[in-house]
Amino acid sequence: MSTVSTRLLEIRTGVLSKNDQLAARLRERFQEAGVLALNFVSSPGSGKTALLERTLTELVRAGRRPAALVGDLATDNDARRLERSGALVRQIQTRDMCHLEAEMISAHLEAAGWNLAELDYLFIENVGNLVCPSGYDLGEQVRVVLLSVTEGEDKPVKYPVLFNSADVAIITKLDLAEACGIDLALMRRNIKEVRPGITIFETSARTGAGMDVWMAWLMARCVEG
């Protein structure tokens, strides 16, 4: 090896500091505009789009003004599905990206030209992935992790980093719980094991079970309509 003498420069910089700064600015904007921003994270096929579809539809029906940014690898199928709810929807095509970053949220909000002050909710549907989105703050006030009953009870313990970063957990596809032989109490326990104090909802977007509790929470969290 070479014997080049070196000097050490001390720097203390978070590798994601650029993202974090931009996210902090976004959060300020959301707060000023009175928008509740929610970042939905989950594994693929957890029923995120179905839950959002129903949530948006019910919010529009209740006279609230929701918008959604939908992250998807290649297609705009989800965005088109969500548009039928009457909410403002914009697709974020991520191509090879496995997660969303604050810069993408910022750019797409700009391109969409939405007036944040006219919105009550901004739903951000992250890319289906339980690992990569965890470290990226998108400026959301609430991080929601979805977990379907078909994924098994121990998913939270296998992905503690992401579950730990969430404020709310929604157990989805409740209508399939019996068919899957899932132990719901154990699933809840495991979620709380890696994220003490988390708020948990149990829903079925298909039958509507549990949707009322989730909707009531959303309505209460919204800065007056």
Partner: protein, 122 residues
């Protein structure tokens, strides 16, 4: 895998710091990586040389210090290291969300070549 995007940000930060210091290349990068950072060490080590290509950082060593998860336990009134995948105090069993350390993903320093001693310049 988001480690390539992490590696690219890392290289960007290091290059900027090196430029500011007037260095022409970087010999080593020191990084603190928390157990709860969501970054897989091996994946980052794999991506780093790729991200460093054609930059001042090309060929630099990546020295990673891993930081374990440490929680503040209220009942015990001290900082504790839980078992892997757990957020409970190993002494009293209380769950805790007060993460003292373990989320780190930060550059702490870089090593750059020392400028030639003044004597040799003459």
């Amino acid at each position: 895998m988001h480690e390539l995007s992490i590696a690219l940000s890392l290289v960007e930060i290091v290059e900027e710091a090196a430029r500011r210091a007037g260095a022409e290349r970087v010999v080593a990068v020191h990084l603190r990586l928390g157990a709860m950072s969501g970054v897989v060490r091996e994946a980052l080590e794999f991506c780093f040389p790729l991200a460093a290509q054609h930059t001042l950082v090309e060929g630099a060593r990546l020295e990673i210090e891993t930081v374990p998860l440490v929680l503040a336990c209220d009942p015990c009134g001290r900082d504790v290291q839980p078992e892997e995948g757990s957020f409970r105090c190993p002494f009293c069993g209380a769950p805790s969300m007060h993460i003292r350390q373990g989320r780190e993903l930060e550059v702490t320093g870089i090593e750059v070549p020392d400028p030639e001693p003044a004597m040799e310049e003459r």
